[in-house]
């Protein structure tokens, strides 16, 4: 707005740049271990619904801390327990306790149908002005976590310039309780809350892959004997079996436009990569090698694919495209490189590799074969990488003491955080924007 009075495109350009520089505090690629201090005082009106207010603040706190970019200033040090209002705070008092930003809010329980009104604002203590002027959420009390996630995304965007990763979900494989051999396909918030069953027929169900618009779930089920791919429309509930026969069929990934599903299918032990065209309802074979070709993942350009093949004697990553051009080998380090997932942001591919210590770790590599980097460093095994929809974080499973957890970290390998265990295990996660259906 301050630029509005300026004349000349050149000056305007300079102004945008200067504004960007002064407004953003975190360069997500360069931040290192620095954590931006944010104050999160009690909400106005919280006394009327103390539990709900605390829960909302807990979600905000969790999101910002899980990002590995922020820390919440210890509330015990706050001079003001509660800000005077949502849009007016005493900047000096927050500067004194070392906060760069303050989240101020007001919570109001409406008498009707357990509806709540939540108003949140972000204040910039450095510039001593509101940074994001009040966002109002109105909805059922049961959706308060989603409201908080939405505002966490705003805070993330305000300080980094990037779309936030918090109002998102994961599609998971969830083992059934002890004694049951089946596995369910579930959907939950990225932080493990709000679990919904998607496929819960008691059969062994694996490798869920949701289409970009969030409606078509591709997965492999053993329910009819052999492991075949099924497509379930989550909004209509309609389901079709995509493959048939004795072999092994596994979904890989959807093209960014949602038209094609890249998958693998085997006949007589020979697994190859195929494209299923949802418009023409037909399969096109992309690879013809006699051994194992599995786990295709689409590049964001919708043309290139990376997949795993044992054609070189050990499992390695290879590149091909939707025309099925001759595969080019991408990885040469190590004797076990599998499960590639192409970043939605461009040229980076995350995958699972076996280290010199014979444990599985998460690695990244550029599509031109450069900048191979191991991201995980702990003991134990790390598997099933999936990119945040914004391409700035990788989530994965880690094995600690024979139990599987979920972690996330930035693509730089920094800021590793363990996600809460919402009571429902999430294996083979696929990280997606919040579904709308």
């Amino acid at each position: 707005m301050r630029c509005g009075s300026l004349v000349g495109l050149l000056l305007l350009g300079w102004c945008i740049l200067a504004t960007a520089q002064t407004r953003l505090y975190i360069d997500i690629d360069q931040v290192g271990g620095y954590l931006l201090p944010i104050a999160l005082p009690k909400l106005l009106g919280e006394a009327t619904a103390p539990e709900l207010g605390e829960n909302i603040r807990a979600v905000l706190r969790q999101d910002l801390e899980l990002s590995g970019l922020f820390r919440i200033v210890d509330p015990a040090t706050y001079i003001d327990d509660v800000p005077q209002s949502v849009d007016r705070i005493q900047y000096q008092n927050w500067s004194t306790v070392g906060a760069t930003g303050v989240i101020a809010g007001r919570l109001q329980q409406l008498s009707t149908d357990s509806q709540v009104r939540l108003e949140l604002a972000l204040h910039d203590v450095v510039q001593q002005r509101p940074r994001f002027n009040g966002k109002e959420y109105l909805g059922p009390r049961s959706r308060h976590r989603e409201m908080a996630h939405r505002f966490s995304d705003i805070v993330f965007r305000e300080f980094t310039g990037e779309t936030g990763p918090f109002n998102t979900q994961v599609v998971c494989v969830t083992p059934r309780g002890s004694g049951q051999r089946g596995k369910d396909i579930t959907l939950m918030d990225y932080d493990g809350y709000g679990v919904q069953g998607l496929v819960t027929d008691g059969a062994l169900n694996l490798i869920p892959t949701l289409s970009p618009d969030g409606t078509i779930l591709a997965y492999t089920s053993y329910r009819a004997g052999s492991p075949n791919i099924y497509l379930r429309n989550l909004s209509s509930g309609a389901e079709e079996r995509l493959t048939s026969g004795q072999g092994l069929a596994l979904p890989g990934s959807w093209s960014p436009d949602g038209r094609y599903l890249a998958l693998s299918q085997s006949i007589d032990g020979n697994s190859d990569i195929y494209l299923y065209d949802t418009k023409r309802k037909g399969l096109t074979r992309l690879t013809t090698y006699w051994g194992i070709d599995v786990s295709p993942s689409f590049a964001p350009d919708g043309r290139r694919l990376v997949f795993t093949s044992d054609r070189g004697g050990t499992p390695q990553l290879y590149l091909t495209d939707i025309e099925g051009r001759a595969a080019v080998r991408l990885t040469y380090d190590g004797d076990y490189n599998t499960s590639p997932v192409w970043s939605p942001r461009g040229e980076t591919i995350a995958f699972v590799g076996r280290s010199a210590q014979r444990t599985l770790h998460i690695y990244i590599i550029r599509a031109d074969g450069s900048r191979l980097q191991r991201l995980t460093n702990g003991s134990g095994n790390y598997e099933s990488p999936t990119w945040a929809p914004n391409g700035r974080f990788v989530m994965y499973n880690s094995e600690r003491g024979n139990a599987w957890h979920r972690h996330l970290m930035r693509e730089t390998g920094q800021g590793e955080r363990m996600l809460p265990d919402g009571g429902s295990a999430c294996l083979s996660p696929q990280w997606i924007p919040r579904t709308a259906w």
Binding site: I207, G225, P227, S264, G269, S384
Partner: protein, 200 residues
Amino acid sequence: MSSRSLLAGGALITLVLALLMTGCSKKTPVVEESMGPQPVSDAGESERDRQARLQREAELAERERRLMEESMRRRAAEQQRAGAMSREDFVNRDVLFAFDSFVLSSEGKTLLEQKAAWLSENPQVAAQIEGHCDERGTTAYNLALGDRRAFSTKQYLTTLGVASPRLTTISYGEERPLDPGHNEAAWARNRRAHFVITSR
């Protein structure tokens, strides 16, 4: 395998019998000849020849005896093995694999020969071969690896004469470990091709 083994065993016995018979028919004329046309003139050297001949004959007989014994022993071992493989053994004895491998070991092949023999004796049986992996490795790749293990196993059985339609395959990857442990011993048991009888 069983029918093949039996055939092979039978052929070997026939061969040995044939050798024995050939030996006899050869020996008899030689003796007759040496004793017939030149019985006296060669008498001086005949003792030496006779010694050499007897030795040769003894050696031949010994070799034949050894061949015969060997054949019988093999046949007996085969019969014993075929007989020893019970239905329970057929189901419970798994073919094991090395890490990240679908290649059959010599032990695996021997076991499959016994399973083939059992299948041959139980022609009404159809079986499903399950390919399994240990927990190390990724879900999708292990499923593909288990698929190849099951197929390698089926392929060897069909080369041994088991009709392909009697055998189906399925991969469970790392989804159905036999041993829930997290150590080398457990992993070794879990990298397996397991047989399930689907019809009898």
